[in-house]
């Protein structure tokens, strides 16, 4: 029962974050939001008993891809100035 509750909560949180990403005007907030969705997804993978996938998702989805997207945004802003 606890697992189902956590799963439901994380799913609704991810969907809410997705809608927020679509509606927001700030592009860096959107990048941080995608990283947050990856973090929720890694907890979901852990609940589904796939710790390998959870590790990959936490390392690549939450840390690396977020950092790369933010780095590209900063690069583009500096070159347009």
């Amino acid at each position: 029962m606890l697992e189902i509750t956590i799963t439901l909560l994380l799913t609704i949180l991810s969907i809410t974050m997705l809608i927020y990403i679509f509606l927001t005007k700030d592009i860096i907030t959107a990048a941080i939001g995608t990283a947050l969705i990856s973090l929720f997804a890694s907890i979901l993978f852990l609940i589904m008993k796939a710790p390998d996938v959870a590790m990959t998702e936490a390392a690549i989805g939450a840390a690396l891809s977020g950092a790369i997207i933010i780095g590209v945004i900063i690069r583009i802003k500096k070159e347009h100035r």
């Binding site: 609704i12 969907i15 590790m55 390392a59 690396l64 790369i68 900063i74 690069r75």
Partner: protein, 229 residues
């Protein structure tokens, strides 16, 4: 009002999707159960390691692993081509000067992250994890160095050479499998070791450590070229 309506519709969709996936999980299809039962039953006597996922990734599905390595390599080449490397003199103009909190946290956290990644790579055949996961952890831990404003230059030629040598040794091990047992990536080391110890499983730990080295170097290059050049 409109946003709340959209939110309610999406939440309903999410809950129904979740219930649908749980339904699938309880009733397995026939193909899934055949291959899964084969892996679960024959893994222990074939390779003598507890982690079935590792034996699938490095042995039963070795070709797929080579494909994944190639995809990573191609994506890194794409980044190299897209980004104009201006040399080290212009490095870290992109990032702001770090504060005291970031600097102190990096000093404490960085060695722990490195150690944890190395543990996951070396214990890939005993516990969940392996080369890809540990390499991703170490590679994203290197990001902390850039955020903390580390100005040390890394010899890029040396890291490229390390990466190429590790891939070459992986392919050489695969070809040795053809030479000894007539199959690519065949486990040609006959002493499989005792069940559950670090040195067990034949060539599996060797391949996974080499994959870990390669993935680490590639993720490090990716973030370094994007953030520091």
């Amino acid at each position: 009002m409109k946003k709340i309506l959209i939110l309610m519709i999406f939440s309903f969709l999410a809950v129904s999707l979740m219930l649908f996936f749980m339904q699938i999980n309880s009733s397995k299809s026939s193909m899934q159960s055949i291959s899964g039962d084969y892996y679960l039953t024959s893994n222990a006597k074939d390779f003598n390691i507890p982690n079935v996922v590792t034996s699938i990734v490095t042995q039963y599905r070795g070709y797929d692993t080579i494909g994944e390595i190639t995809i990573l390599f191609l994506s890194i080449i794409g980044v190299f081509m897209l980004i104009k490397t201006t040399g080290f003199s212009e490095i870290s103009k992109l990032l702001q000067e770090p504060g005291t909190i970031v600097h102190t946290a990096t000093v404490i956290l960085f060695p722990i992250i490195m150690l944890f990644g190395a543990y996951i790579i070396i214990n890939g055949h005993l516990s969940p994890g392996g080369g890809f996961q540990g390499g991703a952890i170490i590679g994203s831990g290197m990001l902390l160095l850039f955020l903390a404003g580390d100005k040390k230059e890394l010899n890029r030629t040396a890291t490229h050479i390390v990466e190429s040598i590790s891939v070459s040794i992986i392919l050489l091990i695969g070809l040795l499998g053809i030479y000894y047992l007539n199959a690519f990536f065949a486990n040609f080391l006959y002493s499989l070791g005792t069940f559950g110890s670090i040195i067990s499983g034949g060539i599996i730990p060797i391949i996974y450590i080499l994959i870990g080295v390669k993935v680490t170097v590639e993720f490090f290059h990716l973030s370094e070229y994007l953030l520091r050049s």
